[in-house]
Each structure stands twice: as structure tokens, then as C-alpha cells.
């Protein structure tokens, strides 16, 4: 094989299997082995809302740049699901390499497209070689991993190291996995002649990088951000955020006597989760919940209470496809408006848009400072793609914490303050001073309510006082801008054509910019709502701005139009809302189409 003709470290693999059959660990072995060889790699799990028996796909994408967005088309397919095989091969382009389970799948001549390299693996026959009969159905997935590793030269020692780390110390499991892998290697060695050009070669893309899911990063961010109370209700795709948080807290937040410096409560529903968060925050603790769109809908009433009575809260919304149950295991950016304007009455909230695990970690911590500072709910808007997929990203960087607990008066402070009212804007920034229950001072207490209240927290229905309070809340919301993360500007700053995106759409946009080298473009990644000055200036400096987002209705675009009057005519939508992670293939195609007009 002459390297000169090979396609090195540049291909996209799609594995089609049935969920719950052990393919996930086989795919992870492939993914992690490539990572450990220093190759730029990305993994996307496209799975069903089901535990066992439905079709599932896994994409492993290898590129020199280590792009982390989905490819629309794949160069190589591993077809293990007889039920979907015909459809799977039909979506593959001519020239694709196909591996398939020839024990259960038969292709007719007309299904094979020109230039396809076909490798048949009789998985079921080979599985008889697995001595642990009970594990046969799980281990047989390793045959395709073995075959791929032989043909494309994935280092066996690296693969063994991944297996060893996965099954830490369970020697029988390690042996069984290595043996199954070897069956695949041996079969490929004896039966396959390589007819395609793909090849993996050791590279140096992953220095200082880790493999991590966004939910893990968010959980660690919350822990490093000083969160002590977590109340949550299971819902895909956010459950692993709360669960990971609890498991790390058990390791990192227990004192020498075994006492917990945290409390995690699995609530009876999302209403109770957010209720507990508000109770804990009201009492002064840093508290959070993690949920998805349906949970946000249920929380709306409490979110309004938190906004109006000014109680901090951190809400991680790991967005999934709605409306209703929607596609619960697919990704979208579809709760932007639902969160920005959550609850009845006039409400406006603060949102953060992390685009990577690094930002889940950073914003996950920052959200608690913001919540305490602004005394209001802070939404960390991640999504299923970010939350549940394994990302290759920079290792977490430690930043010594210096918590901003916001405007809280102690008994001592109260002695010095002349005139204190819970909702009295004495600093003129819309943010008032609060006290915590338990404050030992004659004047330390106040009454919190979701009904009309004056500066001293007394009940009132006065139109004048009500209006004054609502105006102050709006002022407070504007004040938040100076504490929010700034947007990130890329590309040709002199260009008159702009792109705005946020969250996970970033990866597809960055790759699109790399591809369109001859087009003058600039790109602003928005990282928070409300929009700060830079966002308005960016739009003003452009003739046209393409708003890339993963929802049907252009939810961020709508907010831009509401908040920045006079810019509407410049905005052009690029929207994808099919539920798979956004691909540069789509953004490039749409952008080229728009600009060509």
C-alpha cells in the first residue's frame, strides 16, 4: 500500500446497529483508540428513544483538524442491522466502503453502487468462536472493530489499553474482549484484500485534550462553582448531568467524617425540582436543577416567582427536539424563547450558550456567580448533542474560585445600613440587597411573595408601585449585560457579510468558514442573552447577517428582532431542525445557495 495514494486520517464512519446489543462499547473502543493514536476524531451517537431493539447509528469522524460536527455523508459504513441495511446502503454514495454482517444481510446486485468496496463479515458464524456463550451477543460487535483495525491499521496495543481501562481489573472481561477483537482481526487477515484507500496514521492532534460529554463538564462546572444543592427529575438528555454531579460530589465533597457538603434530591417531578432549588437559594445555598424542554414547560410558574420575587437559581436546559415529547433523543436549540421569556406576565431572563464541554465547565461555574449577583434564574442552554455525545476538547483548566455571592446583608451589615428594604434599589443598578433566613437582627427579616410588593416587601396592589418595580426589574436585566460572557468574533473583520450562531451550531459554522476560504465572511458567536453592545454593533457593521440555528422558527433571530429594532431587514435565516447534530455540509450548502442569489 503506497501512502501517497492513501487517504490518511480523513474519513467518516457510520455504524448501523440495533440498540442495546453492546455496539456502544465496540464503537467507543474504536473512537478512543483513534483518539489515543493522536488522531483528530469526533463521535456522534444517533440513538432512538428506546432501551433495546431499535435501530441506532454511530458516526466516527476522523479529520486532520479534529472537527466536532457531524458529516452528512459517510465514507465507510458498517451495516449490522438487517432491518435497516437496505435503507442504509441506499443512503450511501457511490464509492463508499461497506462492511456488513453477511450472516443476516444479503445485498442484491442493484443495491451495490459503483465503486463501493464491500467487505462481508459472517458475524453469527464467527460468534461461535466466542467461548463465553452468555456474552456472545455483546462481544460479536468487536468483530467489525477488529476487521477495521486490521485493514486501516489501528494499533492493537492501543486498543488493548482502552479495553483494559474500560474494564479496570476485571481480567476475565478484558480477556474476553481481546479474544473477540482478535477473531475479527484474524478473519480480516485471512479473507480481505484491501480495495479502498483509507488509512489511519499516528498523529499529534490530541495533546492536552480529553474525551468528555458536555453533561459531565456541566456537572463539574457546577461543583467547582460552589453548587451545594441539586434537585432534579429524570429526563433525557439531562439525567446524566445530575447523576454525574452526584457521583462526583460523593467523591469530592465529603469531609473527613464522611459528612456531605452537598445534597442531591431526586424530586417527584420538575415542579418540585425547581421548587426545591428556589427554597434552597432563598435560604442562601447555591442550588441548581437540570432538565430538558418538557421540564422547562412545567417549571414556568416557579420561574416567574423566582423572577418576580428575585431568587437566584441555576437551570441547565439540555435541549432536545420538541414540541411535546417530540424526538427525545435528538438535538435542537428549541427552548431559546421558552427560556428567555419563561412564565406568565412580563418576564425576561438571562441565558448562557455554551458551545463546547470547556464552556459547559466554565459557564456551569459562572452561572452560580451570575445567579447570586443578579438574584434571578440563570439558564445554561446546552443541548443533547453537547450534553450526551463524547467530545474531544481541551482538558479542564483550574481557576481558583472567588465566589460572588452578590448583595447579601449580614446582621453586622444591617447595623450599618440606614434604610434597608428588600426591594429598595439603593445602588441604582436595579439589584437590591437581600438577607437570609436565620439572620440574627431585629430588622433582618422580610416576607417573600409572588404577589405585588413594595420596596420593603410589603403587600401592595398600587399601580404606581407595581410599575416602578417592573421597571426596576427591567433595569436589573439590562445591568446583567456587564457580567455576561462576551461574544467571540472570527473571520475577516472588514467583511460586510456576517454570520451569527450560538451553542453547538458553532462547530459547523467554523468548519464552513474554513471551507469557504475565498469568501469574505465574519462570524460572531453569541454566548449570552440579553444581547450586549457588541452584538448590535456587529449587525450594524454588516449588510447581511446569516443567523444559523437549530430550530424551525428562528428563535434567536426573533429575540434579535425584538431587542434590536431596525436590524430586521439584514437578517437571513439558516435553519436546520431535523434533530441530528448540525453539519457543516448543511451550513455550507445553505450559505452558498443564499449568497449565490
Amino acid at each position: 500500500m503506497a501512502t501517497g495514494q492513501s487517504i490518511v486520517n480523513n474519513l467518516s464512519i457510520r455504524v448501523a446497529t440495533i440498540n442495546g446489543t453492546g455496539s456502544q462499547s465496540a464503537n467507543n473502543l474504536l473512537f478512543k483508540s483513534l483518539f489515543r493514536m493522536g488522531i483528530g476524531v469526533c463521535a456522534k451517537n444517533l440513538f432512538p428513544s428506546n432501551i433495546q431493539g431499535l435501530p441506532t447509528w454511530f458516526q466516527i469522524r476522523v479529520s486532520e483538524q479534529g472537527y466536532q460536527d457531524l458529516r452528512e455523508f459517510d465514507d465507510l459504513a458498517v451495516l449490522m442491522n438487517a432491518e435497516t441495511a437496505k435503507d442504509d446502503i441506499a443512503t450511501m454514495r457511490p464509492g463508499t466502503t461497506i462492511f456488513y454482517n453477511s450472516s443476516i444481510i444479503k445485498f442484491t446486485e442493484d443495491q451495490i453502487k459503483p465503486g463501493m468496496s464491500i467487505y462481508a463479515i459472517p458475524i453469527e458464524e464467527l460468534s461461535k468462536g466466542i467461548t463465553e456463550t452468555k456474552l456472545r451477543h455483546l462481544l460479536k460487535n468487536l468483530f467489525y472493530v477488529g476487521a477495521l483495525s486490521h485493514l486501516y491499521e489501528i494499533e492493537i496495543e492501543v486498543m488493548k489499553s482502552v479495553i483494559q481501562d474500560t474494564f479496570k481489573g476485571k481480567q476475565s472481561a478484558i480477556d474476553a474482549n481481546v479474544a473477540a477483537l482478535q477473531i475479527g482481526i484474524d478473519y480480516a487477515k485471512a479473507n480481505f484484500t484491501k480495495t479502498d484507500k483509507f488509512l489511519f496514521k499516528r498523529a499529534n492532534c490530541n495533546e492536552g485534550k480529553i474525551i468528555v460529554e458536555g453533561n459531565t463538564a456541566s456537572a463539574l462546572g457546577a461543583i467547582y462553582g460552589g453548587c451545594t444543592v441539586v434537585a432534579w427529575y429524570p429526563i433525557t438528555p439531562s439525567s446524566s448531568l445530575a447523576e454525574t454531579c452526584e457521583s462526583y460530589m460523593k467523591k469530592l465533597r465529603v469531609d473527613k467524617d464522611g459528612k456531605a457538603k452537598f445534597a442531591v434530591i431526586q424530586a417527584e417531578d420538575e415542579l418540585a425540582s425547581i421548587g426545591m432549588v428556589l427554597g434552597a437559594s432563598w435560604a442562601g445555598a447555591r442550588a441548581m436543577t437540570a432538565t430538558a424542554g418538557p421540564g422547562i414547560s412545567l417549571m414556568h410558574e416557579f420561574i416567574g416567582l423566582a423572577y418576580y420575587s428575585e431568587i437566584p437559581a441555576v437551570i441547565f436546559d439540555v435541549q432536545r427536539v420538541g414540541p411535546s415529547t417530540g424526538l427525545p433523543t435528538r438535538t435542537q436549540q428549541c427552548d431559546i424563547i421558552s427560556c428567555a421569556l419563561a412564565s406568565h406576565g412580563d418576564t425576561k431572563h438571562i441565558l448562557l450558550f455554551p458551545a463546547s464541554p470547556t464552556e459547559c465547565f466554565e459557564m456551569g461555574a459562572e452561572a452560580f456567580d451570575l445567579a447570586d449577583r443578579m438574584q434571578t434564574p440563570i439558564f445554561v442552554m446546552t443541548d443533547l448533542d453537547l450534553g450526551m455525545n463524547a467530545w474531544v476538547d481541551n482538558a479542564f483548566e483550574y481557576k481558583a474560585p472567588n465566589f460572588d455571592r452578590g448583595k447579601v446583608l449580614s446582621a453586622e451589615d444591617l447595623n450599618k445600613v440606614k434604610d434597608w428594604g428588600r426591594y429598595l434599589d439603593s445602588d441604582g443598578d436595579g439589584i437590591c440587597y437581600r438577607t437570609l433566613p436565620g439572620t440574627d437582627h431585629m430588622k433582618g427579616a422580610y416576607f417573600t411573595r409572588g404577589s405585588g410588593h413594595d420596596e420593603y416587601a410589603r403587600y401592595t396592589e398600587s399601580p404606581v408601585v407595581y410599575t416602578r418595580n417592573m421597571d426596576r426589574l427591567l433595569k436589573k436585566w439590562h445591568t446583567s449585560k456587564k457580567y455576561l460572557p462576551k461574544p467571540v468574533l472570527k473571520g475577516d473583520i472588514n467583511s460586510k457579510v456576517g454570520i451569527i450562531a450560538y451553542g453547538t451550531s458553532d462547530h459547523a459554522v467554523v468548519e464552513t468558514m474554513d471551507r469557504l476560504t475565498t469568501t469574505s465572511l465574519k462570524y460572531l458567536r453569541v454566548r449570552a442573552y440579553p444581547f450586549i453592545q457588541e452584538v448590535e454593533e456587529f449587525i450594524k457593521s454588516c449588510d447581511v447577517v446569516y443567523i444559523v440555528e437549530q430550530n424551525r422558527d428562528g428563535q434567536l433571530q426573533q429575540l434579535l428582532e425584538i431587542d434590536l429594532p431596525g436590524i430586521q431587514h439584514k437578517l437571513r435565516p439558516i435553519r436546520y431542525y431535523g434533530g441530528f447534530p448540525l453539519s457543516a455540509d448543511i451550513v455550507e450548502r445553505e450559505l452558498t445557495k443564499h449568497m449565490g442569489r
Binding site: A231, D255, F262, I274, G438, D440, G444, F447, R449
Partner: protein
């Protein structure tokens, strides 16, 4: 201790336990309960600043503003006070927590949260000011209205009643009592005992609505309750700091030792009643409903429960008071985490 005879053991006067003037209808049973709460906390010498008052929405839920002004209070949303109280209890386990709810707030919209509050055994006093009607929205039936009871506008309730005491006992509550707002002495004794109990202490207090549920035919009207209420015991409460030399006739009383060492004495009235027997408690409640009677007093008590904060095994310091030093796992831990993710 103050020598002032108008002061309690905390050196505070009864004024320190009062709140804003009531805005409820004249003669409302809820105001009698409020007065009982004030008296109980005054007699107990509870530190006002350490008390946290919670409520949901409804007439009952307005009452926390009418007592202990010097305590933080939180009027939350309808039916969901339990979750907020739970969060506060977890964040600061040193707080003394009282929640005041109504029958609509607890048994209809709040049934779910009420059940889970009981299951979790949150350390708080939970009072249901139960009048079997929605007062604030002008007289609709609530889920605790008795089957056949009539509303002000005439129709009879067609659906079976929810008995919050039975449900609480079933769900593992360890302090369940029923009382009548007009029985001030019993209310005070029960609030004091509930305060001393560790874990959830439920007081279902029948509190007739003078405006919307006090008509002939209602089973929660003053006249009905007065005629049909049967106190199980005469209650005496002795705080554990006091010298226990109360005049009680031996053989006719049962003493219950509460978590903080206080004694609740039940003086036998017209029949034997053992509040530590779960099945008998449930039977007694059920029998009384069949007979259209209302038994009042401590219905069930157990010292076997473990409250939520004990289960969570949290540190002594309130969680809110932990700072960077306690909460930051540090750079070494992060390094290890990074190493495990490759």
C-alpha cells in the same frame, strides 16, 4: 432567662411573635389558629429570626404574615410550598420551619408535593387549615369536603373526601394530629409538640369558613364541628427544659417523649386510644368518618422516623454557609479528572 413575667425563656415578649393585622373575614377559624401559633412559639421561646414560615396560595396561605413578623416568610405558589420548604430545610438545617397550607392547597393542587414531603420526612411543622372549601375564589368544593356535604350555593359534594391524616400515616408520617380551630388549648399543645418532633409533624386543623362553608349541611361548619368533635385526649405539653412536675393522675395518662426530650402527655378521656399503633389510628379515623364524627388530638406518633437531613448526612454547618475552602475540590482533583477522561 428573663425575670420579667411578661417575657418567655428567650427574654422576648409576646409582641415579638405577632405579625401584621389579619385581612381574613371576621370570625375566620384561621385567625384562631394564628393566635394559637403565636402563643405556642411564645411559650416555647423559639428564636424568631431562626424561624422560617412557608405557605402556598389561598386564605390559609396568607396567614404567615399574621404571625412572627421577625421571621423570614415565603408565600410560594399554589400547592407547591412543600418543595420550597424542602429546599430551605436542606440548605439550612438549623432553621425552624413551619408551613401553613389549606385543604385546596394540600389535598387538590398540592396532593403530590404533600405526599412526597411526608415521604421525605422533612423536619417541619405542616399545618392544614382545613375548611373543605375554596374561600379565596368564593366557595368551590375542595377535595377534603365530605361526601354529601353541601356548599353555600346548594349542591351536595358528589365525591369521596380525601383524609390527609390517613394518607400521611400511610406514607410514613411520624406525627399526625387533628384539631379544631375553636379548641385553642389543644391547638397550642399540638403546635408545641409538633415543634419538638423531629421530622414532618402534620396538624390537620378543621377551621370553618365563616363566609363560604358555614351553612347548615356543611360538615365543616362551626355548629357541625362543635357538635361532632370528639377529643381523643386532653393534651399537656411539657418542654424538656422545664421541671416536669405537672399534676397528672397516674394510670390515666400516657406520656410520649419527643425528640428533644419534651413530654407530651395524653390524658385519657372517654376511651382507650394508643397513638403509637398505626393500624388502630387508621381504623379510628375511618370509624369516625363513618359515624360523621371528628376525632381530635394526636392520632399517630412514632419516634422511629429518620428525617431528610439526617438521611442526606450533611455537615453540621448550614450548606449556604460553606465557602470556597469547603466547596472547591482544588486543582489536584481536576488534574485527576482530566487524566481519567482520555
Amino acid at each position: 432567662m428573663s425575670t420579667d413575667t411578661n417575657c418567655n425563656r428567650a427574654g422576648l415578649s409576646k409582641l415579638d411573635y405577632t405579625g401584621k393585622p389579619t385581612t381574613l373575614c371576621k370570625g375566620c377559624g384561621h385567625d384562631s389558629i394564628t393566635a394559637g401559633i403565636i402563643q405556642a412559639y411564645y411559650e416555647l421561646g423559639v428564636a424568631p429570626h431562626n424561624l422560617a414560615k412557608f405557605s402556598g396560595i389561598g386564605c390559609s396561605s396568607k396567614t404567615p404574615t399574621y404571625f412572627v413578623d421577625r421571621a423570614h416568610g415565603f408565600n410560594t405558589v399554589h400547592g407547591r410550598m412543600p418543595s420550597v420548604a424542602t429546599g430551605a430545610s436542606v440548605a439550612n438545617k438549623k432553621l425552624t420551619i413551619i408551613g401553613v397550607s389549606g385543604d385546596g392547597d394540600t389535598a387538590s393542587i398540592g396532593m403530590g408535593q404533600f405526599c412526597h414531603l411526608v415521604r421525605r420526612n422533612v423536619n417541619m411543622v405542616y399545618i392544614i387549615e382545613n375548611n373543605g372549601t375554596y374561600g379565596l375564589t368564593k366557595g368551590q368544593f375542595s377535595a377534603t369536603a365530605d361526601l354529601g356535604s353541601t356548599a353555600k350555593k346548594g349542591p351536595a359534594n358528589q365525591f369521596p373526601t380525601i383524609d390527609c391524616c390517613s394518607i400521611a400515616i400511610e406514607l410514613g408520617a411520624t406525627f399526625v394530629a387533628r384539631s379544631f380551630s375553636g379548641d385553642r388549648k389543644q391547638v397550642i399543645a399540638l403546635v408545641k409538640a409538633a415543634h419538638a418532633h423531629q421530622g414532618i409533624a402534620l396538624l390537620d386543623i378543621i377551621s370553618p369558613c365563616v363566609t363560604f362553608n358555614n351553612q347548615e349541611g356543611s360538615t365543616k361548619s362551626y355548629s357541625f364541628v362543635k357538635e361532632h368533635a370528639i377529643p381523643l385526649h386532653e393534651l399537656g405539653f411539657v418542654q424538656f427544659q422545664d421541671e416536669i412536675t405537672v399534676d397528672m393522675k397516674e394510670g390515666e395518662r400516657k406520656e410520649i417523649k419527643l425528640h428533644d426530650g419534651s413530654l407530651l402527655t395524653l390524658r385519657k378521656l372517654d376511651r382507650e386510644y394508643d397513638p403509637t399503633d398505626k393500624m388502630k389510628a387508621l381504623t379510628a379515623i375511618n370509624d369516625s368518618r363513618q359515624k360523621q364524627e371528628l376525632i381530635t388530638g394526636l392520632l399517630y406518633y412514632s419516634d422511629k422516623g429518620t428525617d431528610l437531613n439526617t438521611l442526606l448526612n450533611t455537615v453540621e454547618s448550614p450548606l449556604w454557609a460553606l465557602g470556597e475552602k469547603d466547596l472547591d475540590p482544588g486543582p489536584e482533583a481536576l488534574k485527576k479528572i482530566n487524566a481519567s477522561l482520555s
